[in-house]
Each structure stands twice: as C-alpha cells, then as structure tokens.
C-alpha cells in the first residue's frame, strides 16, 4: 500500500473540489470545467508524461470518444441507458482502432517527427470525415432533440447536466489510479527508462515498442472516455471542426508540462490552476484573458522547467513528505 500513498493528495483535491462544487451555488459547472482540464491533463500524462513523446494529435482520441458516444446515442437511442453504455464501448473501440493505425506508423518515429506525424493524423482524420461526409460530415451529429424525444426533456437534461459529469468524475478517479499503478509497476520503470534513453533501454532488455503501446492505448482510452462524457454526453452535439480542434491538444500539453511531466499530482494541480485561471480571467478580464495568460506561461517555463510538482519533488527529496508527492 505504501506505494499508493501519492494518491492521497490527489484524491483529496478531487473530493474538496467536488464538495465545493456541490455545495456552492453556481460553482458546479466551473468545477466540472476544471475537472475537464484535470482530466485531459491526467489522460495525456499517461502518454506524454510517461514516455516523453509529444502527441500533437491527441485530441483525435477525444474526438473518437465523442463520435463513439454520438453514434451510439444517434443510432441506438431506443436502448436508453444501454445506449450510453454502448457509447462508452464504441468510444473505446474507435480510439483503439485509431491507436492501432497511429501506433503502426507514428510510434516508429521519434521526437519532432512523431509530434508532426500525429498532427497529420488529427488533421487527416478531420478532413476525411468532412470530405467523405462520414457521420454527417461538417454538419456533425446533433443529439439534443433526439434525446429529448426519446427520454423526455427532464431526463435528457439530467443526462447532460448530471450523468455526464458523474461519468467524467469516475473516469478521472480511475485514470489517477491507473497512473499510479503504471508508475509503480514494471511498465512504469520501463517507460521511465525509455523516456530517458530509448537505445539504452532496449539494451537493458526493455521491449520499448510494447511499453510505448501500453502507454499509448491507456492514454487514448482515457481520452476517449473523457470525449464521450465531457463532450457528447454533456454538450449533446459533435462537430468535426470542434472536436478535432488542435487547441485542446496544446492545452493538454501545457497542463502536463506546467504540472510536471510523468508525475501523478502534476497534471491535477496544473489542470486546477489552468481551469480556474481560465474561468476567472474570462470573468474578470473578458476579452483579455489570453493576453494575461501568455506571459505567465513563458515565465513559468523559464523559471520552472520541471513543472510545479517536479520542482517541489526536487526540494523535498529525502524528506518524509516526499513519498506522498509523485
């Protein structure tokens, strides 16, 4: 159990956030907004943080999840909750298929080549859906009316303002457990080695392709579940230009890096900071939030290259608190 101590502060943050959201009027959506950013940070961290590979096309996995859920709700509406379950299954299936396609091509590449190949995957897939008019093409899939007709407006609203949130929360809790499990297991050590020196890792006996794929599939699966719950289920529509928007990938990368790549707590803290900052800046400084955000980002990158948690861990090395922070 000792190795699972780092989950304590993480779960504490989640629980405190949820309590604040549930008890303070008007803060539930903002808390879910923050949870979304924590979620994409935790999800991407399982790949970017653990392997050091930058996936610029990461949002494609969220998109696959969003489409999986949308396809299930759109074509199998009569299944009710069954359609939601099917949606999560399809989300996982679609993202796994994409994983196989990307893993086959891109994971053989390194560094900037990998990063750019994944941009190709993301943009290519989006234009394929739009150009070949798959799943409604650029018109996307709009579900609100269908859900309201099938389930009644109250239940449909309940789906998108409560069930979707609960699903997201569950996904994030599970994702954090998966992260700590990975970090503590052979997989985690293999990834640590390949992140630091891939060639040396091979010589030490690590099947780098296998472990990269494990991280890739894990991260993609979590991402797709987030896409299914925080996008489709919650917003009740999917437009390709919206779900393949590269901005989300960049935001997720920023969160992972700010918090400290490869740490458990890092993406949680920075997701919290990023989400809260974004929300309050849009309230306090409407129209100028990005102008304030950009220099802040540059300063943090220059001053804390290991991220917040990376920095704290360095300071705490050898102290008793150290084993709670990962």
């Amino acid at each position: 159990m000792r190795r699972y101590k780092p989950l304590l502060p993480v779960f504490a943050i989640y629980v405190i956030l949820l309590i604040i959201g549930a008890t303070t009027p008007g803060l539930w959506q903002p808390i879910m907004f923050i949870m979304f950013y924590i979620g994409i940070g935790v999800a991407l961290n399982n790949f970017l943080g653990l392997t050091g590979y930058v996936d610029f096309g990461y949002v494609a996995f969220l998109a696959m999840g969003a489409y999986g859920m949308a396809v299930a709700l759109n074509y199998f509406t009569e299944l009710g909750f069954g359609a939601v379950a099917l949606g999560f299954f399809l989300a996982l299936l679609f993202s796994a298929l994409l994983c196989i396609a990307v893993g086959g091509v891109a994971l053989r590449l390194r560094g900037a080549y990998f990063a750019i190949a994944t941009i190709g995957v993301n943009e290519g897939l989006r234009y394929l859906i739009e150009g070949a008019r798959i799943w409604g093409g650029s018109e996307g899939i709009v579900l609100s009316g269908k859900l309201r007709k099938a389930f009644g407006p109250d239940f449909a609203n309940y789906l998108s303002t409560f069930v979707a949130d609960v699903c997201l929360i569950i996904v994030i809790f599970v994702a954090s457990v998966i992260t700590i499990y990975l970090i503590n297991s052979r997989v985690g050590y293999a990834l640590l080695a390949l992140r630091e020196d891939e060639d040396a890792a091979k010589v030490v006996g690590i099947n780098v392709t296998k472990y990269k794929l494990i991280a890739f599939f894990t991260s993609a699966a979590i991402g797709s579940l987030i896409g299914a719950s925080a996008w489709t289920l919650k917003l009740t529509y999917v437009f390709p230009e919206d779900v393949f928007f590269i901005h989300y990938t960049v935001e997720a990368i920023v969160i992972v890096m700010l918090g400290g790549a490869g740490t458990l707590l890092g993406p949680v803290i920075s997701g919290l900071i990023y989400g809260a900052l974004k929300y309050y800046l849009s309230v306090i400084l409407p129209g100028f939030q990005l102008l304030a955000f950009a220099p802040l980002l540059i300063i943090i990158v220059v001053a804390f290259p290991d991220g917040i948690v990376g920095y704290v861990r360095k300071k705490l090395r050898g102290k008793s608190l150290f084993e709670y922070i990962r």
Binding site: Y189, L192, R195, E196, D199, A200, V203, V204, G205
Partner: protein, 249 residues
C-alpha cells in the same frame, strides 16, 4: 562450453568496413580481453553482439542458438548485459531505480520489490550505497560507470560486456573494480568480455585470453601474455606509448 560464437561477422557503414569477417568464441565463465586502438571496430562488434546493429554478413550464436536477427530486448533476457563507453544512465531516475530497471528486464526478471532489494545489494557491492536516492544525472562520470556496472550485474547475465570500463579511473579504483569483477565472475559464473584501448596492465591482471583488433579485423588471438608480446601487436601500436602501468586518458 561455448557461450557466444561469432561467425564471419561483417558490418559496413557506407564505404567503410567497420568489422570485417570476425570470428570469435567466448566460453562459459571465461574472461576475455578485446584490445584495439580507436576505430578498430571494437564498439561496433559490441553493438552487433548486443543487437543494436544487425551484421551485413555472418552469424551470432548464443548458447548454440542463432540470435543474429534478434532485437536487443530479446537478447538481454537470454543472459547478455553490457556497459557503455560513455555511460548512459536513465538521468531522471534515481541510482537505485537505474539498477532496479536492470534487475527487472535482464535475465533476473525480478518483480519491482525484488528488483529494489537487488539494487541495494549490487550498489553496496560497488560501493555506492550512500548514493541510492541521488538523481542519476547528477553523478560524477566515475560514479555513472560504477552504477552501470551495478545495473549490468543486477541483470544476472551469463555474458557481461564491458566497454572501456576502466578508462579514466585512477589505479586504486581500477584495482578495486578488477577485484570486484573477478569475485563476482567466479561467484556467479559469468563470462566477462572487457574491451580496452590501451590499458594493458588491467588486461594482464584480468583476462585469461586476449583478442587484438585492427582495422575491423582480428589481428591475433591467444593467451594474454603471449599476445601482448607478439611483434605484430607491437607494430600496431608503433608510435603509440604502451601504457603498462598507471592509466591512460
């Protein structure tokens, strides 16, 4: 019994032949030295044995099995381990984690808990116990080399390939390391192949048999003292100072 056998191994880079039809045999538990100047093809040979390069010609056998085409990560569990001329630690990991990774993925195939225990043991063995929690990238070059040795030993290999392990060390360290490797070699019946550029003293102390490489070819092979006194060998090193005592940087 023959542990490792190379048959006519050749590797070319562009127009250059780095390793030219080399045959080599290493027996179980044997200590072999490979001597040769810079560019004689030693490191390429190591890379072929450990699977980093595929040879253009020739075959590699380990315990009688053809491993010529196996990727590195499938060779290591058979009982291969190596160190690098310029150490390649997993920088952000702690010293202990570095060694534990060796124990997990080498022939030892230890689980995480066992690997951590083994890491402690082997680090104590090489005299680095007080450094276990340090970040590997903060170590001195010498410490990095010792850590790599511990990492390689923790893999419980049958064949250990050392690449210029002792270059840059002072005589005290060299003696300590030689004693250490000798002891472990006997205790765990490891065959050790040690590659050096010049350090003849260490080789005489350690190797039972020596192979001299020159321009990608095997120049001569035989019992250590015999080979070192061979006129051909002296000719190869003509114009270069033969360092028998002390160390060469």
């Amino acid at each position: 019994m023959v542990l490792l056998r190379l048959e006519g191994v050749t590797k070319r880079f562009g127009g250059l032949v780095a390793v030219d039809h080399v045959d080599l045999e290493v027996n179980e538990g044997e200590a072999v030295g490979i001597v040769g100047p810079n560019g004689s093809g030693k490191t390429t040979l190591y890379n072929i044995i450990s699977g980093v390069y595929l040879p253009d010609e020739g075959k590699v056998f380990f315990e009688g099995n053809d491993i010529t085409k196996l990727p590195p990560h499938e060779r290591t569990p058979l009982g291969l381990a190596r160190t690098f001329q310029i150490p390649r630690p997993f920088g952000a990991a702690s010293v202990k984690e570095n060694v534990a990774i060796g124990a997990m993925f080498g022939r030892a195939k230890a689980n995480v808990d066992e690997a951590m225990k083994m890491a402690d043991e082997y680090l104590e063995l090489v005299g680095m116990y007080e450094l276990v929690n340090k970040e590997a990238k903060l170590l001195t070059p010498l410490e990095k080399k010792l850590m790599e040795l511990a990492r390689a030993l923790a893999m419980k290999p049958k064949l250990l390939l050392l690449d210029e392990l002792m270059a840059g060390m002072n005589p005290n360290d060299i003696n300590r390391i030689i004693e250490l490797v000798k002891k472990i070699k006997v205790k765990e019946n490891i065959a050790v192949v040690s590659m050096v550029e010049h350090l003849m003293h260490a080789i005489t102390q350690f190797a039972e048999r020596v192979v001299v490489m020159h321009q990608g070819k095997k120049l001569i092979e035989g019992p250590t003292m015999e080979v070192l006194n061979d006129p051909k060998v002296i000719e190869v090193y003509l114009g270069k100072k033969m360092v028998i005592e002390g160390y060469e940087g």
